[in-house]
């Protein structure tokens, strides 16, 4: 019925909650909640495909999401960021209410730009796809609006979440090998970024990306 509509809306709302936060702890928490919602959506999709087509791959993807995105990646980030000096973001490019209103504009934009595409919609707008594309755009905007490295990493992860959800809702389960490829890429990216941020924090005593353009030696 409306289960997938509701889940896609909740995923969108969790990215709004991410946008309204200031602390690196709450970034990680919001990301974890979003991944959990995606895992629930993938699990329901998996049950549907098992019953209808007899494929098990979406279920495997769901388990992978739970292991990697709900448990492993947030734990790595938590471990790295409890050592960082600055836990609270102070310097935004705009204040939070305006950022949230801009995100709302992004949602409206994706609604109206997707309403002209024929393939996905067949007659009525596919809300799930619209909501998940808004998640991608909000992740991108989140990367722009935060100056600390943690914001950039979380933004990247949210973009990836949005891409996964878009693929899942528009095709009812992507080919298995594509999903696995994206996951492995993501995992290595996060591990490298985590180690790099740790090194940057050690060298420069700050993880503000504005200071990274100065040479040190």
């Amino acid at each position: 019925m409306y289960c997938f509509d509701i889940l896609s809306l909740l995923i969108l709302l969790s990215s709004f909650a991410l946008m309204a936060n200031k602390k690196s702890k709450s970034y990680i928490k919001s990301f974890r909640i979003q991944s959990l919602l995606i895992a629930i959506a993938a699990g329901m999709m998996g049950i549907k495909t098992i019953i209808e087509e007899g494929r098990f791959d979406v279920m495997v993807v769901c388990l992978l999401i739970i292991i990697l995105k709900v448990i492993y990646i947030p734990n790595i980030l938590n471990k790295t960021y409890t050592k960082a000096k600055y836990q609270v973001e102070k310097d935004f490019i705009l204040n939070i209410p305006i950022l949230i209103l801009v995100c709302c504009g992004l949602v409206v934009f994706s609604y109206f730009s997707l309403s002209t595409i024929d393939g996905i919609n067949d007659g009525m707008i596919n809300v799930q796809v619209v909501n998940s594309i808004s998640v991608i755009l909000i992740g991108l905007f989140f990367m722009i609006s935060r100056r600390k490295a943690i914001g950039q990493i979380i933004g990247l992860l949210v973009i990836e979440n949005g891409l996964f959800v878009t693929a899942m809702f528009s095709t009812q389960g992507m080919p298995f090998i594509v999903d696995i490829g994206i996951f492995v890429d993501m995992l290595t990216a996060v591990m490298i970024l985590g180690i790099m941020v740790f090194k940057i924090n050690e060298e420069f005593e700050s993880i503000n990306i504005d200071k990274l353009n100065k040479l040190k030696g």
Binding site: Y2, A17, Y111
Partner: protein
Amino acid sequence: MRNLLYIVIQLLVIVMVAPLLNGIIKKIKAFSQKRKGAPIFQMYFDLYKLSRKSSVVSDVSSWIFKVTPYIVFATAVAAALLVPVSSLIAPEQIPGDFIMLVSILALGRFFIMITALDTASTFGGMGSSREAMISSLIEPSILVSLFTMGLVTKSTSLLPMMNVMKGIGFPLAHPGCITIFLALFTIIIAESSRIPVDDPATHLELTMVHEAMILEYSGRHLALMEYGAAIKQLTLITLLVNILIPHDQLIAITGIGAVVLSLTIYLIKVIGISIIIAIAEVSTVKFKLFSIPNLAAMSFILAFLGFLQYFVLGGCYVLF
């Protein structure tokens, strides 16, 4: 006759139950702090005791100071009459709609704000300026969410809205209604001065908003002010539960038994919502004043997303 019966039942239910909710919320907060807490009927005893005491009025205050408690109480009761507790007891038509509801509540709030300025105490001015900020931030989201419900049900009056939602069955299964529900819940927390926005139990000058405005009152004036605030809170909760979680379609019997059953389910829903409010209050800390625009922006966004879902998917609501 039916009108008179409606008014009597409505007033009895809302006016009698309103202080109970505060008692329940306080009890749950006490349990969360491992205390026994005051009995849940404590607010009735407080109101009774306050109403027997004479009130102290400052020499420098004007007529506004004396007239405000009555206006606040009267506006709260008038607002309560606009939101039927059960569609079974309601007459064919109730004059007034949700725009009138919002403006009546705004009238009471306006008088609280000017009376806080009237005695020229420093706390009063601070409290009323904060209240003006919070209420002007919250009002867009309450209007957008109620207008969306009006668009869905093709009416601005609350009784037809309730009847249409009754026909839908379980509106919360629709994504648009979930966001409206969350938005209205945030609004209730802000309007009834609960914890993320304002602390109802504090008398610390840095944090109080609603308490700062009624600080000068005592005796029966204070009783009227507190009673008015409690009735306003119950009115908003009634609006939430009766529009978004309708229950009258479940009742198969007719006659007086149906009304009693309907009112019982209504009370259960209201108590459920107040338990959720208490849990929300226990599990968050008070925001600093300049973080309240973030909360208001979130509540506006929730209302606006609900509106967008309706606007883009207007056809989906017809499916019910």
